[in-house]
């Protein structure tokens, strides 16, 4: 099981901030493919992953990163702090 978090418009498009996901995905990209296959709202949120960023256990990472040992994955748009 892995905790998957969504922020900003990704959260709004998917309709929830966080969920636990049972997955055997080996990379972030595999997880994205699994989620996108679930329902249209996921497919819409993940339609263009170049517009998204991902963090693994609260560290910025990349979509080809492995998920082995990861407890928390977060998807969000590019950050706009400051």
């Amino acid at each position: 099981m892995i905790d998957v978090l969504y922020f900003a418009w990704v959260r709004e498009r998917i309709g929830l901030p966080k969920e636990r996901v049972e997955t055997s995905a080996s990379t972030v990209a595999d997880l994205v493919a699994e989620l996108s296959a679930r329902e249209e709202r996921y497919a819409a949120a993940f339609a263009d992953i170049s517009a998204l960023r991902v963090a693994l256990d609260q560290e910025l990472s990349s979509f080809d990163a492995p998920l082995a040992g990861v407890r928390e994955v977060a998807f969000f748009p590019p950050m706009t702090g400051g």
């Binding site: 609260q58 748009p77 590019p78 950050m79 706009t80 702090g81 400051g82």
Partner: protein
């Protein structure tokens, strides 16, 4: 070194006074305050979402890197989240150093990294609807100049 992520408003003048007291003897203190901008007078508010946990660790990492690169005796970052009114302070950075150039450079570095490497997302609330602020290419470009 102090990092605060908070929904409450803060008084930038009072914060700078307190920071200056802690950093007494440094020689140079630089501060920057970002406020909710509304140059076209169309916003009713700004909402800032963040990633609790990652926000604090990402900012701490940025501050640690600034300390590695410049001679800093103190540094402070305050960043708000939640609903903010127009013209309210969003965030503040302050740096103290024996050298003016270091204090300026470190403050600018902190600003550039907070903009696109700390997990905050701004949403503009206007009378005709709400929209997420898009990241700008120039924000990413601003980071390039800090690469060795």
């Amino acid at each position: 070194m102090s990092v605060r992520v908070q929904p409450e408003p803060f008084d930038a003048g009072a914060e700078l006074t307190a920071f200056s007291a802690i950093a007494s003897g440094a020689g140079a203190i630089v501060s920057f305050t970002g406020v909710v901008r509304d140059t076209e007078a169309r916003l009713s508010a700004m909402e800032i979402e963040h990633y609790p946990g990652m926000t604090e660790s990402a900012i701490a990492k940025i501050v640690a890197e600034a300390r590695d690169r410049w001679s800093l005796t103190e540094a402070m970052v305050i960043h708000r989240h939640g609903r903010l009114a127009v013209a309210e302070p969003i965030m503040m950075v302050a740096t103290a150093s024996p050298h003016r150039a270091d204090a300026f450079a470190a403050a600018e570095f902190l600003m550039d990294y907070l903009k696109s490497r700390a997990p905050f997302w701004k949403k503009e609330i206007a009378a005709d609807g709400a929209s997420w602020v898009a990241a700008k290419d120039e924000d990413e470009d601003a980071l390039a100049r800090w690469q060795p």
